[in-house]
């Protein structure tokens, strides 16, 4: 069956690409565009590993048709800190404050859940700049982690919130 030529706006760039209509955004990001920061876990909306932002709203890329993402602004983990894309220039690498906090607080173990966690953290902090612990846990409730036991991830989001919107 025929592919359709669509334009996806990913991390600020317009990318023209031919996709089958049954391809998910996750498949197109990972398999066609090799943006493999976004993970595929369950493929059925349960784990949050595939979370990206669509017009600044967190969504599961595994349940989003790529063809329906046309005309929307897509942000993946690679787009959170644009500088980080230049892997060869580690000296000048700058990260998003949420990414820095994940490193500082030891919130990453195997790292598989991390991109999704960070995108959910980003959506949370965009709407609730100073969340309490319950709000952080609720904000991350669509993301599973098999390693950390969550506490350090919650710490990392609280740390990032304080950096982005200081309360004192």
């Amino acid at each position: 069956m025929k592919k359709e030529l669509i334009t996806l706006n990913i991390n600020g760039d317009d990318i023209e690409i031919a996709v089958h209509p049954w391809r998910t955004l996750n498949e197109v990001l990972r398999d066609q565009l090799h943006l493999t920061g976004t993970k595929l876990g369950c493929g059925t909306g349960d784990c949050g590993a595939c979370t990206v932002l669509l017009d600044d709203q967190s969504v599961s890329s595994c349940l989003t048709l790529a063809i329906e993402a046309e005309g929307h602004k897509i942000t993946t983990i690679e787009g959170l800190a644009p500088e980080a894309a230049t892997e060869n220039d580690l000296e000048n690498l700058t990260l998003d404050p949420i990414q820095e906090s994940f490193i500082a607080k030891g919130a990453i173990q195997c790292g598989f859940c991390t991109p999704g966690m960070i995108m959910s953290g980003k959506f949370l902090l965009d709407h609730t700049p100073n969340p309490n612990e319950a709000e952080i846990r609720a904000g991350l409730s669509g993301n599973l982690c098999r390693c950390t036991g969550y506490n350090k991830i919650v710490d990392a989001i609280a740390d990032a919130a304080e950096k982005i919107s200081p309360t004192k």
């Binding site: 069956m1 498949e27 909306g45 967190s58 599961s60 349940l63 063809i67 959910s120 409730s141």
Partner: protein
């Protein structure tokens, strides 16, 4: 797993969409947010030749309120939008609570309240409070609109009263009568992220003496469709709201429930929880209703 192949249709008007439903009858599926439909496709539970999105049809996402007509929730209003809508929080806060209790943040950013209703799962989070509030589903065939009372909408698990050529375009929620209150209660294993093991919606209207003038109770996940707790409703009518009458109503609701045992809960546990949650829902609803009684008297 990759999705099965389909031809994608994105009509830009209702009449075009309904014509496509008519033309491809039996071979076409509708998607709104897709959080149920894409999962079903991926599991090969359905293999349509055509998948039609509603997303390009304009004006289907509106949430509006007028004092005479009540609330209207458009078919494409997202769970998240209903959860935070100031109009809904003011006019029908239990609908916001039910939307909030549905799924995860990401799924609420994608899925619609109408999708939850049309999916017709007996455990759907947004159905019990809509049934309690006597909502109406507006269906369109592109040419004609008809209004389906929500009590007549669910025919079985996954089966609704929509015709093959119809699209549900809006949910109408009548304005609450004076001295009324609503509650939505849910219990599930993995806090609210999980599908409900039991969920209850209740609406109570009190008369001047604080007696029950009208009551509607909807029980989810305890039968093939959301069930009304008729025994409890009949018992409560004209009774004074006390801990004893509410406890008895809970017991009668459990009698009307016909749950099965599955991965989420056993039949026995569900029956017990129907009793507890019904009493709890009625108590909260009656509390809201009596606040309004007080307010009405003092103003």
């Amino acid at each position: 797993m990759s999705l099965p192949q389909f031809t994608f249709l994105a009509p830009t008007s209702l009449s075009e969409a309904c014509a496509l439903l008519e033309k491809h009858q039996g071979k076409i599926k509708i998607k709104a947010g897709g959080t149920d439909m894409i999962v079903r496709l991926s599991h090969r539970a359905v293999k349509p030749d055509f998948l039609m999105t509603l997303k390009k049809i304009p004006d289907l996402n509106e949430i509006s309120y007028t004092p005479d007509k009540g609330l209207k929730i458009g078919a494409l209003a997202l769970l998240r939008e209903v959860e935070i809508s100031p109009l809904i929080l003011e006019q029908a806060p239990m609908l916001a609570r039910a939307a909030h209790a549905t799924a995860t943040v990401q799924i609420r950013n994608m899925g619609t309240v109408m999708g939850n209703v049309c999916n017709a799962s007996p455990s759907a989070d947004n159905i019990p409070s809509l049934v309690a509030m006597n909502a109406i589903i507006v269906a369109s065939s592109g040419k004609k609109e008809r209004e389906i009372p929500i009590d007549e909408f669910f025919l079985g698990p996954g089966r609704s009263a929509l015709q093959a050529n119809e699209i549900a375009v809006a949910i109408k929620v009548p304005k609450l009568a004076a001295n009324s209150g609503v509650s939505y209660q849910k219990i599930s294993a993995r806090s609210k992220v999980d599908i409900a093991a039991v969920n209850i919606g209740a609406l109570i209207t009190l008369n001047e003496e604080g007696k029950c003038k009208a009551v509607r109770i909807s029980m989810g996940a305890v039968g093939p469709t959301p069930l009304r707790a008729s025994l409890a409703e009949e018992f409560l009518l004209n009774k004074k709201i006390t801990d004893e009458t509410l406890a008895e109503a809970g017991r009668l609701a459990a009698e009307d429930a016909s749950p099965i045992s599955d991965v989420r809960a056993s039949r026995e546990y569900r029956k017990l929880m129907v009793e507890v949650m019904t009493t709890r829902a009625l108590k909260e609803a009656a509390g809201f209703a009596s606040q309004r009684v007080v307010k009405c008297k003092s103003s």
